[in-house]
Symmetry: C2
Subunit: 152 residues, 2 copies
DNA sequence: GTTGAAAGTCGTGCCCA
DNA sequence: TGGGCACGACTTTCAAC
């Protein structure tokens, strides 16, 4: 899909505040509210904008422990298999196939160490997982929900 | 702050759709729109809800290359120093101090390999960085913007 | 792409239980 | 706390330009 820089600025506006009114966004990008709505509808239909979400403080909802787990998988494991498996764990907030020694990197978020260990156990129970290497997060320095190009 | 399970369900609603009206959320949690608004205002003021954002397809905006970079830092480097440095790079979408060999883990998102290399160079230019180890993301299996407890 | 008008919905402050 | 009401603003869909 073609995205011009007006679209970019609309996206940046929505990333900064997803509850902004179309009139408000229009003022920032010099467009009328109906014009903004049409562009947003088009961007949503095209899958560029996947949805709108609230950014929650993980600690406030009791999600205080995080880890990154490197996954080492059996020879003929496909990314799709890994994807299916990790999506079953609600503790998984991110998962990627990666270059290097490990086959995948899984980002876990849990209530506490015990919960984390429990999730890790379920992850290791997958038949294709040969071994794992965990790295506990000590503190969160940056955690942008999404970062998009230049603002207004 | 005290969060009851009505708050939890309101949060879950907003995470699922940040543009839902208060009346809509109220219908799901059996509350009137003003009551929902008051709770949301309170949650925002308390920092539980940090804001509302759009979930963007990174590929659609030209952000196609990702990497995780392990940072090895000089002896007396504080997390605050690392935080300041990584926040200066717009390519950083996440950064954490971690247990294990490395001191920090930085999640980068760039337009392409050249851009990634450029960002990495700027990261390595920090005086406290003694060395880095990069892991390129081959594919994104899961990338939840936020995951919160049980839905409605 | 724009404007302007229509009807319906929503946000939000205020008051009462 | 919660709900109800009221007013103004916003959304959304038209039409016509």
């Amino acid at each position: 899909m073609q995205i011009d820089d007006v679209d970019q600025r609309i996206i940046a506006s929505l990333v900064a505040d997803a509850r902004a009114s179309y009139a408000e966004i229009g003022a920032r990008v010099s467009l009328s509210a109906p014009a903004v709505k049409r562009r947003v509808d088009r961007l949503r239909a095209a899958g560029v904008i996947r949805g709108f979400t609230a950014v929650i403080d993980p600690a406030a909802v009791g999600w205080t422990t995080e880890a990154f787990v490197e996954l080492f998988c059996a020879g003929r494991t496909t990314p799709a298999q890994i994807a299916v498996a990790v999506r079953r764990l609600p503790e998984v907030v991110g998962a990627y196939t990666v270059s290097g020694e490990a086959d995948a990197l899984v980002h876990l978020r849990a209530a506490d160490i015990a919960h984390l260990e429990d999730a890790l156990e379920r992850l290791r129970a997958q038949p294709f997982v040969t071994s794992t290497r965990s790295t506990i997060v000590l503190s969160r320095l940056v955690d942008s929900p999404t970062v998009v190009a230049a603002p207004t």
